[in-house]
């Protein structure tokens, strides 16, 4: 994790949910920003990469640590 990484702490978020929180961050921050989404929902490990691919951003990593799903995404456009 670089010092530039923006943590999106979406643990316990059912609505709007981790993916929507990531989209919010991507809308707000400049190209090149790296986000790390924290989610307590297993579905995020699948939903987030699926959207990242559709939207043309870059998936950097997708891991689980102690029940928290951490997905790193770079805004590329």
């Amino acid at each position: 994790m670089t010092s530039e990484t923006k943590i999106v702490d979406a643990r316990g978020s059912y609505c709007p949910g981790p993916l929507m929180e990531l989209i919010k961050g991507i809308r707000q921050e400049p190209v090149g920003t790296v986000f790390e989404v924290w989610s307590s929902d297993r579905g995020s490990a699948k939903d987030i990469p699926e959207w990242v691919k559709r939207a043309g951003h870059e998936l950097l990593s997708n891991v689980e640590e102690d029940g928290i799903y951490k997905v790193q995404v770079k805004k590329v456009k």
Partner: protein
């Protein structure tokens, strides 16, 4: 004397002020505590009525009351535009230069729709998240001759169930006027019909029965008002005859002027204590926070209980350790004079109930009872 200032007189600010005034009555009467609400206008507006205004089922007067009448008589009301929060001086600076000092500040400034962030949206689309927008949409619906009504949802936005509610209600509205052949196309930013999975599953079942079309993975990038098309950042272009857009929302400009928010104007807030990060004499509630929970009146309502409890406790010598558990409760209008509801918190996902006419009636009753919530009673 302890001065408590509430910046914003919507549901969150009014509820906290009224709960404080009632429970700290003795302290206020003795002059030990002063409670001040700063509100931009003399009015208090109940925003859920905007949805009904679009269908001519409510008018602006239904949603408006005098904020002075909403507030407890012992709460001081300052009507005016705040320029900024000066943390060094522990004061809110008004645009006319007046300083309103605080010992505790409660920020309840809400959010605002920002259609200007999407090129072409202001010219080409309708929104029902403001009174003015809802009335324009009402007029557009009255003149609608058929074709496709396109519903788009941008992120972040408040009242996360309103796009679904609008889609179901407009389908009914069209059918009742003999426009069964008109199309309602609901789009959503992620890979299902709502961020809440059970709600998405419910909508996926109900939409085909109700003749509502849908498209997922649709984040609006731009609107072409001349050719009546919307293009998504995923690369799809869809045409419309009437565009009803839920625009992205941002925090209020006073937050940005004060340097308190992130890039979107949302204030970093502790999810349990509701204190602003790095400030133990500032609380934040409602849409103004950066918390990953629904921007909705009910969120502000449940947060207000925590903020009030902590302020009262601290003023009386306690530590103010009540915690917000993430509770949210939302009604969902389902069309056909039925409604359902969801409730959830940080630990418990929602379990939607089947829609019923009883819950619809309760929602209509709550629209009237809301004023008791703002008064800090209900």
């Amino acid at each position: 004397m302890t001065r408590i200032v509430l910046l914003g007189g919507g549901v969150g600010g009014s509820m906290v002020a009224n709960q404080l005034a009632r429970q700290l009555k003795a302290e206020v009467l003795h002059g030990d505590v002063e409670i001040t609400v700063i509100n931009q206008t003399p009015d208090h507006v109940y925003q859920p009525y905007f949805l009904y205004m679009a269908f001519d089922q409510a008018v602006p007067a239904d949603a408006r009351r005098d904020e002075r009448q909403v507030l407890h008589s012992q709460v001081r009301l300052v009507v005016g535009e705040a320029d900024r929060v000066d943390r060094d001086a522990s004061a809110v600076i008004m645009q006319d230069g007046t300083k309103i000092p605080y010992d505790f500040l409660v920020i309840a400034t809400g959010s605002r729709p920002a259609p200007e962030q999407i090129p072409g949206l202001t010219e080409g689309g309708h929104i029902f998240y403001t009174e003015e927008g809802a009335l324009k949409l009402r007029d557009a619906l009255q003149n609608f001759q058929g074709g496709r009504i396109l519903v788009t949802v941008s992120v972040p936005h408040k009242c996360p169930v309103a796009p679904l509610e609008f889609s179901m209600m407009v389908r009914d509205w069209l059918n009742q006027r003999g426009m069964e052949s008109a199309e309602v196309l609901y789009t959503y930013p992620i890979g299902r019909l709502h961020s809440l999975e059970p709600v998405a599953e419910w909508a996926a079942r109900v939409f085909p029965e109700r003749n509502i079309q849908s498209q997922v993975f649709f984040n609006v990038e731009s609107v072409d008002p001349e050719n009546h098309t919307v293009t998504s950042l995923e690369g799809d272009t869809v045409s419309y005859d009437l565009l009803v857009a839920i625009p992205p929302h941002v925090g209020q400009t006073v937050i940005q002027r004060s340097g308190l928010g992130d890039a979107g104007g949302w204030i970093p807030t502790d999810r349990y204590s509701l204190e602003m990060v790095g400030a133990d004499n500032i609380y934040v509630l409602g849409d103004a926070t950066n918390l990953p929970i629904s921007k909705a009146g009910s969120t502000a309502h449940f947060e207000a209980d925590v903020v009030s409890a902590n302020l009262i406790n601290r003023i009386r010598g306690g530590k103010g350790s009540a915690r917000y558990d993430g509770k949210v409760f939302c009604f969902i209008e389902a069309g056909a004079d039925e409604a359902t509801y969801i409730k959830f918190d940080y630990q418990h996902p929602p379990k939607p109930q089947p829609p019923s006419s009883m819950i619809h009636l309760y929602k209509l009753a709550f629209n009237k009872m809301y004023w008791l919530s703002a008064a800090g009673i209900l």
